[in-house]
């Protein structure tokens, strides 16, 4: 395998509703910032790949106008996944592994505020057997949380602690949407949104965009003082049938972590894409994280959850800690689908 590193990362401040700028206008500054920070010329980047979803934008071909943010002229080598940008990064990493590229631009965008996002996500479900029942995203997550509670794997207090810690950490993240100090007792006194989930257990609705530049070997060393080397990256999916899965565990995360070499050493930081509080507990378990490990110092998806972007941001945030010399070995995770159906794990080292 070739040595490949994240050499730069940029994101827009995550907001509840971006009214003034469309997706291209949100992307243009982050794409420019990531490219400039990489030190690699825009025209020298060998491959470009993005992640976005038409149903977030509410129109077909959302990614088509997205490439206008890159200025693809003369024509560029370019691809797109209808997935979170973390999987676009995976495709870029594969492309570099083939030797057909030495550098890549990865970007993602999602304006979750364009429609009623919890209802829109229902359209992600099996259209024959599940979607007609119209379970929304929060209700499905609640189902999973209930399994966890019933098995004694979590408590509502532990879930509230995840929310309070995430939003306290987010105070140090200028790009976070939700931040502040919350008292556990007060959180637990709140009514249920969808039992057993309270409002604080759920992610905010977020508009956002992010970009990352990858570079291989010597190029990364030349352009970046402290490249975040990708030592392992893998992703796995599991059954869509919720009844066929053990919702209290994330088997796909376990396999991806094993394949990515996540169990081969300890971490200084982990950025987990856990939109709901109980999902962080499931992921900590699947990833066998040390309870003392710093998880989601950015505030995580509980502080900003732009769909199709939040996973890529986890990779960027983890890399940023390495770039800054704050971490030597970092773990990043991204998820997709109902109840953590699909998961990506990436191990990075400085």
């Amino acid at each position: 395998m070739r040595d490949v590193a994240i050499v730069s990362f940029a994101q827009v401040p995550n907001v509840r509703r971006e009214l003034d700028r469309n997706e291209v206008e949100m992307l243009m500054p982050v794409v420019t910032e990531a490219i400039e920070a990489s030190g690699i010329g825009r025209k020298e980047i060998d491959f470009t790949v993005s992640g976005s979803c038409d149903y977030i934008a509410g129109q077909p071909f959302a990614f088509v106008s997205g490439i206008d943010a890159v200025g693809p002229w003369p024509p560029i080598n370019e691809s797109h996944v209808e997935m979170d940008g973390a999987w676009a990064l995976y495709e870029a990493w594969v492309k570099i592994q083939t030797g057909q590229a030495d550098s890549a631009l990865v970007y993602a965008f999602g304006k979750s505020s364009m429609g009623d996002i919890t209802e829109v996500l229902t359209l992600q479900l099996d259209p024959y057997y599940l979607a007609p029942l119209w379970p929304d995203a929060v209700s499905l997550a609640a189902l999973q949380a209930r399994v966890l509670l019933d098995r004694g794997h979590a408590t509502e207090r532990a879930m509230a602690e995840v929310a309070a810690r995430s939003r306290r950490s987010a105070k140090a993240n200028p790009n976070a949407q939700l931040r502040g100090d919350f008292e556990i007792e007060k959180l637990l006194a709140e009514p249920y949104l969808v039992s057993p989930l309270r409002k604080h257990d759920c992610p905010p609705i977020t508009d956002g965009a992010a970009a990352i530049v990858l570079a291989a070997g010597d190029l990364a060393k030349k352009k970046c003082r402290r490249p975040a080397w990708i030592r392992g990256i893998d992703h796995r999916i599991e059954s869509h049938a919720l009844g066929a899965r053990n919702l209290a565990r994330s088997r796909s995360t376990e396999i991806a972590a094993e394949k990515a070499g996540a169990f081969a050493g300890s971490f200084d930081v982990a950025e987990l894409h856990a939109p709901f509080t109980h999902q962080e507990l499931i992921l900590r378990d699947a990833l066998r994280l040390d309870p003392k490990l710093s998880v989601n110092p950015s505030g995580g998806a509980l502080s900003a959850n732009a769909l199709m972007v939040a996973g890529l941001i986890r990779l960027g945030e983890a890399a940023r800690r390495i770039h800054a010399g704050e971490a030597r070995r970092a773990l990043a995770h991204a998820t997709s689908g109902p109840c953590l159906q699909q998961n990506l794990v990436c191990v990075m080292e400085g």
């Binding site: 395998m1 070739r2 470009t48 979803c53 038409d54 149903y55 934008a57 129109q59 077909p60 071909f61 990614f63 088509v64 106008s65 490439i67 200025g71 693809p72 002229w73 003369p74 024509p75 560029i76 080598n77 370019e78 691809s79 797109h80 996944v81 209808e82 997935m83 999987w87 495709e91 594969v94 492309k95 592994q97 083939t98 030797g99 057909q100 996500l121 359209l123 992600q124 479900l125 099996d126 259209p127 024959y128 599940l130 893998d234 992703h235 796995r236 999916i237 599991e238 059954s239 869509h240 049938a241 066929a244 088997r251 796909s252 396999i255 997709s336 689908g337 109902p338 159906q341 699909q342």
Partner: protein, 385 residues
């Protein structure tokens, strides 16, 4: 650096206007199982799945790969979902190939589909206000002005498009999977069919189909134990450019020319007209055959129509194009590009049945999408690269 990769299994569904006999999982599984059977493999032998399709609004399911994971035996495996507009079938195969070329996997299943009967593709293709001014004309309305520009530029005879349609519809009679089949199709029949978007007549346009295509791609090591003749991937290329800007040549787009140039360079091809034995090209409207012949460097600018006119692209011509009947005969949009890639590989593997040519050693698969702005191509050959 890259590992060698070959196509060792190919499957496609019967394409039809409405496959009401199968669900979406049933449709993709039909193609996938045929590809696995062709390769004498089962889902258990597959390391990863790469799936592609055009806009999710065609079926009304957001990111349908999530619910199709079960039908494609993906549980516990990596699954990627590609979407690059009309070129997606080709791009999906290229992403799948890169997983093998990178040395990450030994055997990758790649699948693409569209079940267009679930919606009205023309409306799903129309971008709405406030994103841009609605054209409300579908793909034909978008591309007809480009064809008119081509006719004006090249001075091509008016019946060039009719001749392409007649050829592809005649070829489709030899393809058991083709959607549109018109036994005894004639020049007069095409010429007298209703004008939809001047100069595109009804029989010069592609259908809206339900269908799927699948391929098993294997490493050199895994190819050694494959039962059939492999189609080795000699080169792949993808290029994109913006939909519009002042001065953009949409008739002969630079992204297509650059993509072909990169592809030929990687495959060591200097005279494409001579070195390819056949090509499967994405021709959704008849006139795109001459346009793409020029864009791909098979003909000089403004002379692509001569290839059609002189019969060069016919089954017995020097560069047979779309022996399968092409997109004009079957168009499950998300799969249409992969069908081009797969049909090219089928010719190399000598498994095209009644539309098989003799002695195909090297073939081109081509797909395009968006406003003639996304291109994906590959070269497959019988010789190991």
């Amino acid at each position: 650096m890259a590992e060698r990769c070959a196509v060792v299994g190919i499957g496609q569904t019967k394409h039809d206007v409405k496959r009401i006999d199968v669900s979406m999982p049933g449709l993709v599984r039909e193609a996938a199982l045929r590809a696995l059977e062709d390769a004498e493999l089962t889902f258990a032998d597959i390391d990863a799945v790469v799936i592609g399709k055009a806009p999710d609004m065609f079926e009304g399911v957001m990111m349908p790969e999530l619910f199709l994971a079960d039908a494609l035996g993906c549980a516990g495996k990596p699954m990627l979902r590609v979407h690059t507009a009309g070129s997606v079938g080709g791009s999906t195969a290229i992403v799948a190939a890169s997983l093998v070329q990178a040395g990450i996997h030994e055997r990758v299943l790649t699948v693409s589909y569209e079940k267009q009967s679930e919606s009205n593709a023309m409306w799903a293709l129309t971008v709405k206000i406030p994103f841009q001014q609605a054209v409300v004309a579908g793909a034909g309305g978008y591309f007809a002005p480009l064809i008119r520009a081509y006719i004006r530029r090249s001075g091509a005879p008016d019946d060039t498009g009719i001749r392409v349609a007649l050829k592809d519809r005649t070829n489709a009679l030899q393809n058991p999977y083709a959607h549109l089949v018109f036994p005894g199709i004639s020049f007069e029949q095409v010429a007298s069919s209703p004008m939809l978007w001047d100069p595109i007549r009804y029989l010069e346009t592609c259908p809206s189909s339900d269908g799927a295509c699948a391929m098993v791609l294997a490493s050199e090591k895994a190819t050694a134990s494959a039962p059939g003749k492999p189609a080795w991937i000699h080169a792949t290329a993808m290029k994109s450019e913006p939909t519009m800007f002042a001065g953009r040549d949409q008739v002969n787009p630079r992204a297509g020319r650059d993509c072909a140039a990169e592809l030929y360079r990687k495959a060591g091809i200097t005279n494409p007209r001579k070195e390819f034995d056949m090509a499967e090209i994405y021709v959704p409207f008849s006139w795109f055959e001459p346009m793409w012949m020029e864009n791909l460097g098979f003909a000089e600018p403004n002379e692509g129509w001569k290839m059609t006119y002189e019969g060069a692209t016919a089954m017995d011509g020097d560069l047979p194009v779309n022996c399968s009947g092409g997109v004009l005969s079957s168009n499950p949009i998300g799969a249409s590009g992969m069908l081009r890639f797969a049909e090219a590989a089928m010719q190399v593997r000598e498994q095209a049945g009644a539309h098989q040519l003799d002695g195909v050693r090297r073939a081109l698969g081509h797909a395009y999408g968006g406003g003639s702005q996304f291109f994906s191509m590959w070269v497959v050959a019988s010789d190991r690269p």
